[in-house]
């Protein structure tokens, strides 16, 4: 267990380093930040001076090295666009994204599992088939279109729900939460549906497929033969075994919710990290982009790690053999 953890940690660090390097070498192709940082009245001399000041004249590896050296000390630099420490900017934005991801993830997970189980158990029923077909629409239209459609229906036509933003937030320590106010909660509805729909469909399909696989296992038949209640068989036996393979994919899906939030946040003007990243790209705000990508990798790596830990908790077979390679 410990060994496994250490090995994973090592791999994670490596992943972070690689992601960082890849990201870094990509930035210079996104554009040139200097034009955005200097006004219309700048002269060529200003541009050249700025380039040197920002260190953009140096080799990519050198820039990356400097970035890493500072990053290790917790210094991710100052945002070109906002002129504030990147850490501060990210910390300010993180709650919005994380809360949105949490809610959409929970929605996706809950409905994904419920619908997935239902469509697997009642495979041939009309309702199950309808759910399957309806869910396809969730993955057959781009997220942004669904978001825009929801805004048009629920905000513009019905005037029921807000079309943008987080509503009122409450600050608790360094964390701003929208969970504690009515408007904050209501503002979550449309974006979390938009964001979660796609993931829900994927999870549902996965759960269904795995469940169908598990349902034909001998131990399920044996459970039937022992006269256990259907509920107990479906939940205690089938679902539990379904969850083992579902955990991995679901973990990654939840991770990608944060990445997908880029689009949802743009559509709903959700003041989270995704929107920050889009702004950063437009402005070529290299420190923010770098920190964001590293953060996303960190989230993924952490989720991966948690998923693996979860395996140990769920599957006793792994506990004995000392973990998989």
């Amino acid at each position: 267990m410990i060994v496994f953890f250490i090995r994973r940690l090592g791999q994670s660090l490596l992943v972070l380093l690689i992601v960082g390097l890849v990201a870094f070498s990509m930035f210079r192709f996104v554009g040139d930040p200097i034009n955005n940082m200097l006004g219309q009245e700048r002269t060529q001399a200003d541009v050249d001076r700025m380039r040197v000041e920002l260190g953009l004249d140096r080799a990519i590896l050198t820039q990356y090295g400097i970035f890493l050296k500072k990053a290790v000390q917790g210094d991710f630099g100052v945002s070109y666009r906002q002129g504030r420490p990147v850490i501060e900017v990210l910390a300010e934005r993180a709650p919005a994204t994380l809360e949105l991801a949490l809610v959409s993830g929970a929605l996706a997970l809950f409905f994904g599992i419920v619908f997935g189980m239902y469509t697997a158990i009642k495979r041939d029923s009309f309702i199950a088939k309808s759910i399957m077909t309806a869910s396809l629409i969730g993955v057959s239209l781009p997220t942004f279109l669904i978001g825009i459609a929801l805004i048009n229906i629920f905000a513009v036509k019905l005037e029921l729900l807000p079309s943008f933003g987080r509503g009122e937030t409450v600050k608790i320590g360094g964390w701003t939460t929208g969970f504690l106010t009515r408007s904050g909660l209501i503002a979550l509805i449309l974006p979390s549906i938009t964001l979660g729909l796609y993931q829900m469909t994927l999870i549902m399909r996965l759960v269904r497929a795995e469940m169908l696989e598990v349902l034909r296992q001998d131990y399920i038949r044996f459970a039937w033969a022992r006269g256990l209640k259907e509920r107990s068989i479906n939940f205690n036996h089938a679902l539990r075994n379904t969850l083992v393979p579902v955990i991995t994919v679901t973990g990654l899906q939840l991770g990608s919710i944060i990445a997908f939030a880029i689009i949802t946040e743009t559509v709903f003007q959700w003041p989270g990290m995704g929107l920050l990243f889009v702004n950063a790209i437009q402005f070529v705000d290299i420190p923010v982009m770098a920190a964001y990508l590293m953060l996303i990798s960190l989230v993924f790596v952490t989720i991966n790690l948690l998923v693996d830990m979860l395996y140990f908790a769920v599957d006793p077979r792994l506990r004995v053999s000392g973990g998989k390679g």
Partner: protein, 306 residues
């Protein structure tokens, strides 16, 4: 060819196909859309990719109404550039399908090769490939595509950026797509390589390449096919999504996704047709490909057969 079709018709898969109206409907839809895309130049009244055929004065012509300035007539209306929406959809469908199919093909070839090697060779090679897959997953597909797009835009000679865009999309989407293929093929390879027919092949003196590609791969085709189908739908949608973030097909040669991105700007302004028809086409395409994939998944799963 005919015998192939008839043998398909008579097979278990064919039986399942005949019993599924959704599958039949989806297949018809896919075929119709494919044909429409393929024969677009002969079907459409206009080549929307040729700027000299466009007349700005036709801009925003509503469907089935004559444009008062030019007396032109458009079935699905015209867009903001005076392009015939119908023609543009068919041409856009071509781009979308091309991006989708080639991206999936790219991901498939990459994923299948790596998965086969990982599963068959095992050991350290397997670890390296699968850890690479983990890293790949760590980098969300959208971000990969955005960054690759950024790079290519920067690296490619300016003159070629337009053409490059499509290929970049293909590579970017394909690159974010290979992991599921690799995983499933690796799994299949690990199962199949211990099957006796592989031993028999080794005994016959077959080399690893023959064994991997002639023996193991054909037996992993079912899940590959299912993943490919679903990936195709996902790739087409991904292209549309990327287009929304400004990294899609160029506006002069729009894909369905680009059309939708452009069209959504007019969602509130009354020119519904610019968004509606492309979105409907995309929906139908993705829906029918997805439904086919769904059906295929169930039909090819021997465990579900009664």
């Amino acid at each position: 060819m005919i015998s192939r079709i008839s043998s398909f018709w008579a097979s278990d898969i064919g039986w399942s196909f005949r019993g599924s109206p959704v599958a039949i409907l989806s297949a018809i839809m896919v075929v119709v859309l494919l044909m429409a895309a393929l024969f677009a130049p002969w079907i459409t009244p206009q080549n929307p990719f040729d700027p000299s055929e466009l007349n700005l004065a036709n801009g925003f012509s509503p469907p089935l109404q004559e444009n008062p300035f030019t007396n032109d007539f458009f079935v699905f209306g015209a867009d903001n550039q005076g392009r015939d929406v119908f023609s543009t959809i068919l041409y856009g469908l071509r781009i979308s399908l091309m991006v989708g199919v080639l991206a999936v093909a790219f991901g498939l070839v990459l994923g299948v090769s790596l998965g086969l090697i990982a599963g068959y060779v095992g050991g350290r090679v397997d670890s390296i490939i699968m850890r690479t897959a983990d890293i790949q997953l760590t980098f969300p597909a959208i971000l990969i595509a955005m960054l690759i797009f950024g790079i290519a835009k920067g690296v490619a000679p300016i003159e070629y950026r337009d053409q490059v865009a499509i290929w970049v999309l293909i590579v970017a989407i394909g690159l974010s797509d290979w992991v599921p293929f690799a995983r499933v093929v690796r799994g299949a390879a690990m199962v199949q390589k211990n099957k006796d027919f592989v031993l028999a092949a080794k005994l016959a003196g077959q080399g690893p390449m023959t064994i991997m590609f002639r023996h193991i791969l054909p037996n992993a085709m079912s899940p590959i096919l299912v993943i490919a189908t679903i990936s195709l739908a996902l790739a087409i949608i991904a292209e549309a999504t990327l287009s929304f973030l400004g990294v899609g097909a160029p506006p002069t040669k729009p894909s369905l996704g680009t059309l939708i991105r452009v069209g959504q700007e007019f969602a509130l302004s009354g020119e519904w047709w610019i968004l509606f028809f492309p979105a409907l086409t995309l929906l139908m395409l993705a829906l029918s490909v997805n439904s086919l994939g769904d059906w295929l998944r169930d039909a090819l799963n021997p465990s579900l057969k009664s």
